[in-house]
């Protein structure tokens, strides 16, 4: 871990992540304007001294909207992933630890769910729940669960036969102790790596749902929705499409690079 920052991937990833997380945590306080306030005389303008990133079709300040949208967009990715990872890991650990028919039953069901492509799965769930940000979050979490469960299970399986687990079993430790103190900590790193990378997918899926009109709804400042609303005006002011679009790319890229760097650092075999 010590030479984590020696790889350019890690440096770039961490830098992007710091920018994005700062915006997500403090954005609403550092925003120069009310993100919903209209400035009718300054509609669809490019960057200027008054509006650093320009304005949208209602003359709303784009920088303020991006900063206010950061928590919605990033938190969406983080929470959806956390929920999916949490539930998925529990299922995976149960399967991996139990073995036998419990394991094979769970795995058959997971294989079933994995047969539906991610975005399609999310789309079906979110339409059925009726759209909106909370439902989109739930849908992404549900869609992530089977994949995460699989990864958690294989992590547990690879740990289960290690000597320290065998030793704990020989010592006569309780099942709960073995799982929580010996298996989990050692199975954690692949789960964390996968989760970090998945946040970037979650952000992209969330934005895509916003774009399709099934995620965040006006007047939300979620970035995908901002692109969708501004597309009509893209020939008049390309900034109002490009800025939220690139913000999404920046957030996704940050999590992606950081996750990759983390994997390389934690798993030397795969570093290259």
């Amino acid at each position: 871990m010590r030479d984590f920052f020696s790889s350019p991937t890690a440096v770039v990833g961490t830098t992007l992540l710091v920018i994005v997380l700062t915006a997500a945590l403090f954005g609403p306080w550092i925003a120069p304007y009310d993100p919903q306030a209209f400035h009718p005389i300054a509609r669809l303008q490019g960057p200027s001294a008054a509006h650093w990133l320009g304005t949208d079709q209602f003359g709303r300040d784009l920088l303020s909207r991006i900063l206010h949208g950061a928590p919605a967009t990033v938190a969406f990715g983080v929470f959806a992933t956390a929920l999916g990872v949490g539930v998925g890991s529990v299922i995976g650990v149960i399967a991996g630890v139990s073995g036998g028919w419990v394991d094979s039953t769970i795995m058959r069901i997971l294989d079933g769910l994995l047969a539906v492509p991610d975005l399609l799965f999310t789309l079906l769930i979110v339409t059925m729940l009726g759209g909106g940000m909370e439902h989109a979050l739930l849908a992404v979490a549900v869609a992530f669960t089977p994949g995460m469960a699989r990864i958690a299970r294989s992590a547990v399986l690879s740990v289960r036969t290690r000597d320290y687990v065998r030793a704990a079993i020989a010592r006569g430790e309780s099942g709960f102790y073995i799982v929580s103190c010996e298996v989990l900590p050692n199975a954690l790193s692949p789960i964390v790596v996968e989760a970090t990378i998945r946040v970037s997918f979650a952000i992209m899926i969330g934005a895509t749902l916003g774009f399709l009109g099934l995620g965040a709804q006006p007047p939300s400042t979620e970035w995908g929705l901002m692109v969708a609303e501004a597309r009509q005006f893209m020939f008049r002011n390309p900034w109002c499409v490009a800025i939220p679009g690139l913000s999404i790319a920046m957030a996704a890229l940050g999590f992606n690079l950081f996750g990759d760097a983390l994997r390389d650092a934690l798993d030397p075999r795969r570093s290259h």
Binding site: G112, A115, L123, G224, M234, A249
Partner: protein, 316 residues
Amino acid sequence: MTRGYLIRRLLAIFLVLAIVTFAVFAITTVLPGNAAIMILGEYATPDAVAALERQLNLDQPWYMQYFNWVAGILRGDLGMSLRLSLPVSQVVGEAFLNSALLGATALVAVTVIAIPLGALAALKRGTAVDLAIGLFSYLGTALPEFVTATLLLVFLAAPNSGIFPAGGFVAPWGNIGGFAYHVALPAFTLGLILLAHISRQVRSEMAEVLSSDYIRAARLKGLTERRVIRRHALPNSLAPAVAVISLDIGYLLGGIIVVEEIFAWPGLGRLLMYALENRDLPVIQAVTLLLAGVYALSNLISDIVIAMLDPRVRYA
């Protein structure tokens, strides 16, 4: 790879499809609203809605609707689209063909470009070439399809200066040029994410293979570098690439939803969006069934291909 294994896998696929369709059906019928309300929209009057519900058999309980639907499937009849009043098999069949054309174009183009790109990056590891390829592929993974597509529309299909048409579909039969012209932007949008995935995968596998003992042994034997790469390194890096491609078919199936919507491509993705918006249950069912089926089959095929490429893998 035994016959028993194949049969078990195929049975599992059928089971999965059955579960998926039942889930879709059950949840959709619990929801407020139905196709009749959506068809008549805001000019609906209660008696018109009631009349249309009778006509579409929506006044039956949901389990009867499901039973009728399953009975139809077993007879090979997918039913009628509620919104489009056409046989589902016809609507979905045409859309599937169009989507397959787009998906196949994207996949073939990506495979042809991504594998050499990944191999090149692995061979030139640490150089500017590697960095450029890496940067490009990272950017590719971080841009959602709707952003890529929108930017392409602004820059490559703008009126007056546009190089490509801004969407639309031309069938390839008899007009392959027109098809290529129209398929370029949507296929590029779809392909960008896959390109990134596959080239990165090939790069990392190839890098691993290149530093492995048997390549070193091959070099020691005095084989030319060309031969080492063509006969040993590349084939051994391909199995994981195939695995990634089959996983990426999942992305592709999701990606067509957005891409077809933006580029007016009359395929399954757009049909699904339309059916979802209009609560056209028979069409939703058929499209989901088809997409899940294609995905499951592509996974199966990729497992078989991997087993053939990599003798170490055995399935029982």
